[in-house]
Symmetry: C2
Subunit: 209 residues, 2 copies
DNA sequence: CTTACTTCGACCAAGGTGGTCTATTTATAT
DNA sequence: ATATAAATAGACCACCTTGGTCGAAGTAAG
């Protein structure tokens, strides 16, 4: 794998993107190394020179994906922010950030989660699980629930706000489908999103008098 | 196809379930007729006797799925009910009802939607689209928005309630994963769900004084 | 000119593809 | 009981894709 780490960044990215995309859209078995090399525009031999087998390529990708997720997580999510909705802003920026730079990463990880364990070595499965737990912790630990309205259980409020933001994002993403993120002016969408969050505050926070 | 329609219901169901499952979990190209016949416990020849080609089987399934969805829709969704959340109860019952009797139907339709148009004939694509529109209409037409709190736009409230119920269902479904619906006592879960809906009313409806 | 490394893609055996066909069983009709 | 027709299984077909190999050509360095 040394030989792979040494490549120019652009070729490396082409290969990683191609491979992640292939494993995102197909199960391990159905994913095709032939399609990967074609999409990455390299010869068949090279892929098996860099990664000796399909399986080891797969494991490399999983590890790579975890690494990216963790980097972005510490970068974007400020777990000292006590206001839940403010913290969710960071989470949204994280998702968009990953989406811009690695469009298929979430899809890939989702596919990995569905995979029969046999293809995902125990240590990687463990790291994935750990990542999930830590992500939850970073999202929910130390939230100030005093701000929430008192006629609804605060755990419920956390979930409701989460689901609402999830729904909003899905709708937005569907609307922006096909368009190229890189050359898109996102600022107005953020503005709208912030307004949406303010609305959530109006709904779920105590009314200031 | 006549020959197929005549079969005993149990064998018919075995074949339909196997085929829908296969096309739900794989794209058209990747779906395998071999796996279908093995799973349905019939000989290879029979499948191609009933449906002459893979493509025509696929189209039969799509048509079949649309039919089921429409039946359930008129059965469960009462579009004369003016209270949105009450109407959503029907929608939830519809989903569970379909899920019980055809576990992979939603997944299948989702997969069909993703398919490159070429494999889905225009007329079926049109029927699918029409079904979606009518479903939306049955959900949202004639809703009494007077009940909603007035400090938030009522269209937003409709969406927020929808997303919240969606999130709740997903969470519940994840919790019940793997368990067999048929032999499951659902009543307590409905109870909890109704309580959840009452909470949504508290949040999104005008407070009665 | 030699040595070492990179790159490609033809090639391999193995196995899966949609679809056909024959042989046999089962049901129906006379 | 006999003849005819329908239902059924699965071996088989030609074709394609699979993960992986390997030799040859290209490139760079010493």
């Amino acid at each position: 794998m040394k030989s792979f780490d040494i490549l120019d960044e652009t070729k490396k990215k082409r290969i990683l993107d191609a491979a992640i995309n292939e494993f995102a859209e197909n199960s391990y078995e159905q994913a095709s190394t032939n399609r990967i090399v074609k999409s990455a525009q390299i010869g068949k031999g090279m892929l098996f020179h860099y990664f000796k087998t399909k399986q080891s390529l797969y494991e490399y990708l999983i590890s790579h994906a975890i690494q990216i997720m963790e980097e972005f997580s510490v970068l974007y999510i400020d777990d000292s922010e006590p206001d839940f909705i403010e913290r969710m802003k960071g989470s949204a920026k994280l998702k968009i950030g990953i989406y811009e730079q690695h469009p298929d990463l979430f899809h890939f990880i989702g596919q990995v989660m569905l995979e029969k364990e046999s293809k995902v070595p125990a240590t990687l499965a463990h790291r994935l699980h750990q990542m999930q737990l830590e992500g939850m912790a970073r999202m929910f630990n130390g939230i100030d629930t005093e701000k929430f309205r008192e006629d609804v259980d605060s755990d419920e409020i956390l979930k409701l706000i989460g689901w609402s933001i999830e729904g909003y994002s899905q709708e937005l993403l569907a609307k922006l489908d096909g368009q190229n993120f890189a050359e898109l002016e996102l600022e107005p969408y953020w503005k709208e999103f912030y307004a949406f969050l303010e609305m959530l505050k109006r709904i779920y926070y105590k009314q200031e008098v």
